[in-house]
Structures are given as structure tokens and as C-alpha cells.
Amino acid sequence: MATSTPAVRLRNVYKAFIGQGRTARPLLALEDVSFAARPGEFVGLVGPSGCGKSTCLNLLAGLTAPSAGSVEHHGAQVAGVNTKVGYITQDDNLLPWRSLLANVELGLEFRGVPREEWRRRALEFIELVGLGGFEGHYPHELSGGMRKRASIIRTLVYDTDVVLMDEPFGPLDAQTRVILQAELQKLWERDRPTVLFVTHDLVEAIALSDRIFVFTSRPGTIKREYRVDLPRPRDVFRIHETTGFDDLYDALWSDIRAEIQRARQGELQAVEGSR
């Protein structure tokens, strides 16, 4: 395993942003970030808000380029939009003018999959997440949980080996969240893609991940790496009862709490310095 090429890898990546306006100063979002994910690994990325977790996904999707360092997908540099990965955002980003079925078929259509296959594969995934019977519905006619399911299978249906997920369950209510976590785990175990999963929810990160990277506050870099050795398949509904869960949760939380405090002290100093 250790010798095989990682599915994705960031090497000494820096990313600076400059806001709008003439007086805007460059802001360092990522500082010397290096990590790799093995093929088939489920990796959780956690950290305080604004620490650059989502930026890492955008770099891997090729939607933005690093200011320095290298971003690799199976050893090859990512240059320009990376269509070899799947990308699932916090907003469901379904096309409102397409029915559920047509939305799920979208990627197959763009990727030149033969037309006869679209329907079969789309329907298979729609059934898999229990959306059968809603194929003809438009996104605004579906509930938040149904739209989220649709946006996930829309990406999984075209079978990429790497899937980037940016707080996909963020806007959902607590119950729907756990149900969808279970469904995601089931879907992931089917084809075992590499998943990079950004979340603020530590329970969610533990329930789903093989490894978790904790980010520092801005400028973000990897503070620590945790291995989640809980046996699979996991019961996400009772994950907090699993042996070892508490220790891991406490460790993650104290890391993040320290980062949040550090960020707040930095802000206070900045405010005092400006006085």
C-alpha cells in the first residue's frame, strides 16, 4: 500500500487570495499543506471555519490553482478543471430546469457515455437511495434530503475514483443527516472510491472516515492526523457507543478548540494593534 501512488496528493501547497478592491491585502489561506490519500480511502478534513479545507477541494477539482506547491491526481499535476474527480458541494447545485432523472443523467451525458446506458445507470442509483417514483420531479418539488441524495448519486453515477465532498450534509436537519451518512457509507462501500470529505461535524467525520486531518486556523495547514480504527461497516446511528469513539472525539475537539482560541487571540491582537 505504502509504495502505490496516492490517489490525490498535495505537496507544500500555498494559496493566497486577494479580495476585491484596490486596498485589499493578500490573504494566506493555505500555508505549506501536504497530505495524500490512498486509493479507496475515506479521508475526513476538519478544522475551524475559514481554515482552507474547502480550498483544498477546489484545488483538487482544478477550479483554482495553487499559489505555490503541487496538486496531484494519481501522480499527475492537476492543471485546469479536473474532470476525473467527482465534486459534491454544500449546495445541491441541481439544475432546476431538469427533472431528477435528467439531473442524474447529466454527467453521463457530458462524459459521452452511450445514451442507452444513461437511463439504466441513473435509474439504478435512484432506486439505490430510495428515490424511485420521483424521477420526473423537478428539484423544487423535492425535499432538502431528497435533493441532497440526488446531488450525491448524480456524481457517483459516473463512477470517478476520487470524490470530493464539501460539507454535503451541512444544511440538513440532524435526523436526515445521520440517515444520509448511513446511505453514503453504503454507497461508498459499493465501489470504494477515494473520498475527501470536508465537515464541521466531528461525529460525522469519525463515523465515516478512515483517517482525519485536522487543520489549523488560517493560514490553514495540517495540525495533526488521526487514524480511525473503528471496524467497518459502522453503525452510524450508534457510532458514539463504539469503543474508542470518546477518546477520538475528545482528542479532535481539544485540537480544534485550541485552534479556535488561537484564532480569537489573533483577532483580538489585530483589533488592539489597530487602536
Binding site: 477539482a61 465534486y87 454527467g107 457530458f110 456524481t155
Partner: protein, 299 residues
């Protein structure tokens, strides 16, 4: 007997098993609620119709009473005189004759203006840099009072139908143009990002994301610019013409025939109203939009 620690959670038994009676009771409640809703909608509609007719009657009666008593007939004429004037024009064929020119100029101007606006907005909406370059010139053109273009079009194209069509088109053009450009530019960033990572080519993006996203904006503009086309056509007729409803109104005014002016204006309003009703299906054309923005229709 040890002391129990920790909270105990006990689920309460459902007090009554939900038997068939309960089910039929629920069905009745649902049916009743539906019937109540339908009744309320029907009553609402009837009330609206009666109220609207009432307003019309009040205006006509008030007008009739005020005319000659509160305000001199010379200024406001009277409902009867306007009705007689309309009947005269219909009988003599004048209404049909003049109406057709105004109608032609309005409809052709509407079509020419909208098509030109969409064709020009298309590339500009897709190429932000081109849009940034040309933007100030469009702003200048937009800030010219559209009426001022009348004499220019007449200088260029004479007294016939052409300057009226162009003026109507000019009135329509900017509204449709601006809406179409905005329609192309407002495509949510997230949708574009996600579809690009999915592997959409440029033409895929245009076909599957950008065009459908712009359609509601274009339709909204098309629905709201008909009155503007009519204004353009009539302004053209006011400036220089010997036919059309604008000419008819102008001619009546020069003879101090108030009922003629009012009758001509009334017909213009009727034409716009009729065309607006004809274009109404445009707003309901998109099923995916229904429920997203249910806007109340006036007509």
C-alpha cells in the same frame, strides 16, 4: 430494591388504536378541508370580478356625472359621446383602417426589437470582456430619451410605416437587451463549477446550463415590453403621420374634439390589454419555475 439511577425513558402507549373509523374520519377531514379551500377560492374569484366591474362602473358613472357639472365637457367629454365616436369610427371603417397601422407597427416593432436585442445580448452576455468594452456605449444609447429618436428615424426613413416600426423596436430593445444580458450573467457560479467538473464542454455549458438559466429573464422581458412597443408606434404617429391611432388622436385634438382623443386612447389601451392576455402563457411556459416564483398576474 436498589435505587435506580439514570433517567428512564418510557414510551407512552398510543391511547386509542387507530382503527378504520379513525381512517375514515381522517379522510373526511381531508375532503372537508379541500372543499373549504375550493369554496374560498371560488368566492375570492367572484368577489374580485364583481369588485373590478364595480370599479369600472363607478368610473363611468362618476365620469358621466362630473362631465358638464363639475368639469367642463370640453375637457373630459362624456362616456356617451366617446361611445358614439367609437360607433361612428367602427361604422365608417376608420377604426379598422387606422387601427391596422398602429397594430402593425406595434407588433413588427415588438418582434424586431426583441429579436435584435436577444441576438446582440447573446454574445455580449457570454463574453464578459466584450461586454465591459461596449457597456459605456450602451449606457449612452440607453440614456437618450427614446422619444428623441423619432425625428431621426423620420429623417432617415420618411413618413411611412418604417420609422414607426423602428421607434417601437427602439422602445422595446433596451428592456429585452438588459434582461437577456443579466439572464446570461446571473448563472450561479456553483452550477457552472459543478457542471464543469462533471466534464461539460463549452457547448455543453451553453446548452445545458447557461441558456436554460437565461430563459426566464428573457420571457419576463418579452412579457412586459408590449406596452413599450405601443408607445413607440404611437409616438411615431404623433410626430408625423396621416394614419394610425396616434394620428387619429392628434387630428381630433387639433379640432378640439375631446371625445375623439379619448376614444383613440381607449382603443390603444384595449389593444395592449388584448396582446398582454395573448402573451400570458409565456410566463407559465416553464413548469420547473412554477412554485419557485408564483407571481400574481394583474391581467
Amino acid at each position: 430494591m436498589g435505587i435506580e439511577t439514570g433517567a428512564r425513558v418510557t414510551a407512552l402507549e398510543t391511547p386509542l388504536a387507530l382503527g378504520p373509523e379513525a381512517a375514515s374520519g381522517s379522510a373526511r377531514v381531508l375532503a372537508d378541508e379541500l372543499a373549504r379551500r375550493d369554496r374560498a377560492v371560488r368566492e375570492q374569484r367572484r368577489f374580485l370580478l364583481i369588485a373590478r366591474v364595480g370599479v369600472l362602473v363607478a368610473i363611468i358613472v362618476g365620469w358621466d356625472l362630473a362631465s358638464g357639472r363639475l368639469i367642463r365637457t370640453f375637457f373630459v367629454s362624456s362616456p356617451g359621446a366617446v361611445a358614439r365616436q367609437l360607433a361612428d369610427w367602427i361604422a365608417s371603417g376608420q377604426l379598422l383602417y387606422h387601427g391596422q397601422f398602429t397594430l402593425t407597427a406595434t407588433v413588427l416593432g415588438y418582434v424586431v426589437g426583441s429579436v435584435a436585442a436577444i441576438l446582440l445580448a447573446w454574445p455580449l452576455g457570454l463574453m464578459p470582456r466584450l461586454f465591459r468594452i461596449t457597456e459605456p456605449y450602451f449606457l449612452v444609447a440607453y440614456s437618450i430619451p427614446a422619444v428623441a429618436m423619432g425625428p431621426i428615424f423620420i429623417l432617415w426613413f420618411g413618413l411611412g410605416l418604417t420609422p414607426k416600426i423602428l421607434l417601437a423596436a427602439y422602445f422595446v430593445f433596451f428592456i429585452v437587451f438588459v434582461n437577456t444580458v443579466v439572464g446570461f450573467q446571473q448563472v450561479p457560479r456553483g452550477l457552472l463549477d459543478v457542471t464543469r467538473v462533471m466534464g461539460a464542454s463549452r457547448s455543453d455549458l451553453l446548452r445545458a446550463v447557461i441558456l436554460p438559466s437565461a430563459v426566464p429573464y428573457v420571457l419576463a422581458a418579452l412579457r412586459s415590453t408590449l406596452p413599450a412597443a405601443m408607445i413607440g408606434a404611437v409616438v411615431g404617429e404623433f410626430i408625423a403621420s396621416n394614419r394610425g391611432l396616434g394620428y387619429l388622436a392628434n387630428a381630433a385634438a387639433s379640432e378640439y374634439a375631446t371625445e375623439g382623443v379619448i376614444a383613440a386612447v381607449f382603443v390603444m389601451a384595449l389593444i395592449v390589454l388584448a396582446m398582454t392576455v395573448l402573451l400570458r402563457p409565456l410566463s407559465g411556459a416553464l413548469r420547473w419555475q412554477r412554485g419557485i416564483d408564483a407571481r400574481g398576474d394583474i391581467v
